[in-house]
Amino acid sequence: MILIKNGLIYEASNKADATGNFVKKDILINGNKIEKIAANIKEDCKIIDAEGKHVFPGFVDMHTHLRDPGQTYKEDIYSGTRAAAKGGWTTVCAMPNTDPVVDNISTVEYIKRKAKDIGACKVLVIGAMTKKLEGKEISEIGNMLQGGIVAVSDDGGCIQSTKIALNTMKYASNFNIPIIVHSEDYSLSGKGQINSGKMSTKLGLSGIPALAEELMISRDIMLAENVGCHLHIAHISTRKSIELVRQAKEKGLNITAEVTPHHLLLTEEECSSYDTNTKVKPPLRTEKDRQACLEGLLDGTIDFIATDHAPHSDFEKEKEFNLASYGINSLETAFAVLYTELVLNNKMDLSFLIDKISTKPSQFLNINCGLLEKGKAADIAIADLEAEILFTPENMVSKSNNTPYINKTLKGKIVTTICEGKVVFLG
């Protein structure tokens, strides 16, 4: 048993506006569940003093690239789950674009087994929609479901053929799992490096137009309406994309969406010095798009925040911009970044942020997490909001350090992470 004393405990609101409270109480953990939440609990067991600290339900990430199997020089299940634990995440969903691709039950089982054996947090698996993510043949979704996948996605890729996209959605809809799409029309994105806009013109880099994303979201919403399935839009990034989701929701369609910390906070301006840590898909967009992402999150059009943690090694980023890999490393930095930039700058309440990185994604996955209540999983992140945290290549737990926040000091340090009743990180 573990007793967390005197922390400011997150209490979710029942209301739709998601504004919860923080109250000073103790939490008693028994095994892997929360046993009791009350003031002044007395118990003769291991005690964690959380005086002056905030206590959150562990964060849940719908969009993580663990790179295992096959690209373990970038990250693996051991390092990736420890990076997660350091960032306060207790559940992460592994994307299937590994090598081999997660398009069969044995790879699903490999990930689940390895995560269970050596992982510092829980790993849920997302299976590929099409074999090898090629967008040609439907993968064995039924088999993978038996192995325990929670959703399907061709993330990193996008099924270009409308017919195959339609059939894959139809087939997946048999199983009542979310279909997560990365929306990109390749004929428009081409060899694009950054957002198509002022910055691409100035830097002479080829652009990825907003239209490449919007057209595909538009198509997939129509397909999902036709099929009647749950469509989830990954890493939404443009003003019009958000407008499309808003309209779909108003129509009552089963469409959800996520946004990354970097699309909430950064714009194409960050690319001005050819820093390859800003190279990501979808690209960092304009200030208008960024504002729309924030508004979409605040008004509920966007359901939650997901990291799209995409580690890449130094040798894949330390090169010419055109040759560098796309992706931003995010698990360790996300909470501090979001707290510093959004909560401290009064863009949202702390409880709203917690709702969007813990409660809402848990509800989406229908898992027993995301709330601090009796009977819920003992997945907990304790933060010292006054403490500063500096991310350096030396102190990153991830195998990679490809983040624009490298060498920057932020506020909001996770000091303890508990997963399934076990302390998995102590800062």
């Binding site: 806009g197 013109t201 002479g204 040759l323």
Partner: protein, 312 residues
């Protein structure tokens, strides 16, 4: 000649980091170098003992020759590294290549590369001054300086001049550097070409005028620059045929009538005669096209002199 502005150790990634005063100082120094190049004995001993390295990751004949001749005429030691970009995809990284070359003791780099931002990387890896000889469609500042010199030498000023640049703006590094440089020197630039070859936000980013009709664009121009039009843009689906392009955008005696009577003609080369420019214009008295090549050597000598801090 005094090295009055502090150019020593400076990079030339593009002209946005250089002030109008500094650009003027380069033009002034170019004039001196041009005079040297007209002598019987075209050599100055001022960079003796300095080592200049050309890193060319993209095919180039004239720019490479021009830089190498400039270094030779100032008595610098010159080494050349040239590689095909495709070999970079598998072989040694730019970082390793540059570390290797730098270990041989280089004082200044001149780089051409098909990927934007590469000159910044060379400076990051070596700490040495870097001259950008063209990085993808991004920038070609020495070409812009020689273009500006060529016009300035004839007109005595760039202030208030109308300069019209016509052609494939999207794929042109020359146009971007010229837009920055000419604007700093007070010229008004109009760019013209088909919409499919015009990047977005040109007016917002560069403060230039954008026209899609050649005659409107040429109206009252003091100087007109044609850009190379490549056939491969046709297969990229950006325009239907060279014939139609020529009808709409070629610099001919007829279309040049809309410009000022003695309007100067420039082209960064290599030219596609009969496509973006007709021979009657390219070879006319007001054409500066060969003069640009002559001035290119002098501009590059001036830059090497200013940055490596030689004394005259």
């Amino acid at each position: 000649m005094e090295n009055s502005h502090n150019f020593i150790g400076r990079n030339l990634f593009d002209l946005d980091d250089w002030s109008a005063d500094e650009i003027q100082a380069v033009l002034d120094a170019t004039k001196v170098m041009k005079e040297v190049n007209q002598r019987d004995y075209k050599k100055l001993p001022i960079l003796r003992g300095k080592t200049v390295c050309t890193l060319f990751f993209e095919n180039s004949t004239r720019t490479l020759m021009s830089f190498e001749l400039a270094a030779d005429r100032l008595s610098a030691d010159l080494v050349r590294f040239s590689a095909n970009v495709s070999s970079l995809h598998k072989g040694e990284s730019l970082q390793d290549t540059v570390y290797t070359v730098d270990a041989m003791g280089i004082d200044l780099y001149i780089i051409r590369h098909s990927y934007p931002g590469s000159p910044q990387l060379v400076h990051k890896y070596t700490g040495k001054p870097v001259l950008n000889a063209g990085d993808g469609p991004h920038a070609h500042p020495t070409q812009a300086l020689l273009d500006m010199f060529s016009i300035w030498e004839r007109t005595g000023t760039l202030k208030g001049l109308k300069v019209t640049i016509v052609g494939d703006v999207a794929h042109s590094r020359v146009v971007r550097s010229n837009l920055i440089g000419l604007k700093k020197m007070g010229a008004n630039v109009t760019i013209c070409g088909p919409k499919t070859l015009m990047p977005g936000y040109m007016q917002e980013v560069y403060g230039c005028k954008v026209e899609y009709d050649l005659k409107t664009a040429l109206k009252n121009a003091d100087a007109v620059m044609g850009l190379r039009m490549q056939l491969e843009r046709q297969s990229d689906g950006l325009f239907p045929s060279l014939e139609e392009y020529t009808k709409l955008f070629t610099l001919s005696e007829e279309t040049m009538r809309y410009a000022k009577k003695d309007a100067l003609i420039l082209h960064p080369g290599p030219m596609n005669r009969g496509v973006e420019i007709l021979p009657g214009i390219a070879d006319s008295d007001r054409s500066l096209i060969l003069e640009q090549v002559t001035n290119g050597v002098a501009v590059r000598m001036a830059l090497l002199f200013l940055i490596l801090g030689g004394k005259l």
